[in-house]
């Protein structure tokens, strides 16, 4: 059972710089990450760049933890992209818009590896 958090996703500069370069290492290093408050990092017992598993009722994904000041306790931020979206429901509540922010999630340390984008896409094709 992981720690309960509120997941949000959004843009970052490096994510934007690699919008046309999503199969690159630079995109992977930026987007397959999870920003957390320092206190939440300590509570989880993870250091920078260590893998964490994030689960929602729709899916789970492994990303690298990254400390980010300005993120409130209990909030985790994953840059918009394939890793964040592995956790997002397709339920649009009749509005056409999935809920990309404010998702109930659980987070825990893991020893599993972060999947590259090609492997992440293969999961859908199975």
């Amino acid at each position: 059972m992981g720690t309960k958090v509120n997941l949000i996703s959004g843009r970052t500069i490096v994510q934007g710089q690699n919008l046309d370069n999503k199969l690159s290492e630079e995109y992977f290093n930026e987007v397959a990450t999870c920003e957390l408050n320092k206190a939440d990092m300590e509570r989880l017992g993870v250091a920078a760049d260590e893998p964490v598993k994030v689960k929602t009722s729709f899916g789970e994904v492994v990303v690298k933890a990254r400390e980010k000041g300005g993120t409130p306790e209990g909030i985790i931020f994953i840059p918009m992209g394939p890793w964040a979206n592995a956790l997002v429901s397709g339920n649009t509540h009749g509005a056409g818009m999935p809920q990309y922010k404010g998702i109930d999630a659980e987070i825990e340390p893991t020893e599993e590896e972060v999947l590259h984008v090609k492997d992440l896409m293969k999961r859908y094709m199975e």
Partner: protein, 434 residues
Amino acid sequence: MVEITDVVCSLCGCVCDDIVVEVEDNKVTKVKKGACSVGKSKLMGHGRIESPAIRENGGLKDCSYDEAIKKAAEILAAARRPLLYGWSSTVCEADKVGVELAEEIGAVIDNTASVCHGPSVLAIQDVGLPSCTLGEVKNRADLVIYWGANPAAAHANHMKRYSYISKGYWTEEGKKNKKLVVVDVRRTATAKMADVFLQIEQGKDYLVFSALRAMLYGHEDVVPDEVGGVSKKDLLETVRMIKESKFGITFFGMGVTHTGGRHNNIVNAIQMTRAAHTHTKFSIMPMRGHYNVAGINQVCTWETGFPFAVDLSRGYAWYNPGEVSATDLLVRRECDAALIIASDPGAHFPGESIRHLSKIPVIQIDPFPNPTTEFADVVIPCAISGVEAEGNVYRMDNIPIRLRKLVDTEYVADEEILERILEEVRAIKEKGGD
């Protein structure tokens, strides 16, 4: 080496049009000024899809444009419930052909507004939008509010060219005589610049809009000491700044469209603008993401009457976001083929909808390989609009601007690819092959 001035950026909704680049040996070799780091990255270019290709035995096999276009037309002509999705990172001329193709095959046509400012569109249809141009903001605004938007990361030139930092006719001293309010869950780079930062609890936007509306109408007595994580003191300070401004503007982003409440948040934001009108001039504008998402909304509306999520299978246009929007269609596993152009649902759709998309025949038209390419069955590379092809786009304030062509290319432009697919589809239908 040739220097090209007044280059127009084809990245985000800012559509900056004062960029200077150097071109040598038919390549952009330097971005000299004007572009932000994200726009510069786009102009300098990345690895391309090198050849049209068709998937065979699990792998993509290179082929000619003619073969890929023929295969694409066969898939679309045979489909019973095709989805044509994307359209925001290309030009209006291509979008127009896209709507014609959708009509021809009775498809659902949807664009990236569906997962971006779709809720804003719904709210605007509900209560209207007291908005203006970015030029008016530059020349008049002395109060700028960014709500659920982080332009420092997503629209890096926005503050400099159009809002808080820009200098205009009545704002000649720039930010010295302006105020900045930022409303966000995280203390972002934009929030750090603010005179007042309202750090709200995630998902509480609606409450905070309501509190500000009540205060603007003179009912501060009904507002509790804290609303959505924001103190009444900070709310009162924000209201004071609104009342004292000569011209204010709220720019809102995905922070309000992507959360629970969706279009209801935007309705409340627009109503807050109306409340501000009882004191001063006030305006509001969505921070559109793709450089031409506003353009496909325009084109789709001219052609079908509706801006996104349009089903043409009935022989007339049926608009119902939540039913015929791309995500819903995919989650219900309703569509049996998809054409994806100028967007990347593999990266930006919920996993639940990618699961179906990855299993049906997918045609991808894009200059760059991306997660959608991983499962696309027909891949058709195209010229980069704004670098290798010209055409019209609409900035986030719905001002049309023409993209320039900077270099020559052998890649075919989106408009021509779509015209050739449409021609093939018509030929198949004439033969009775559908």
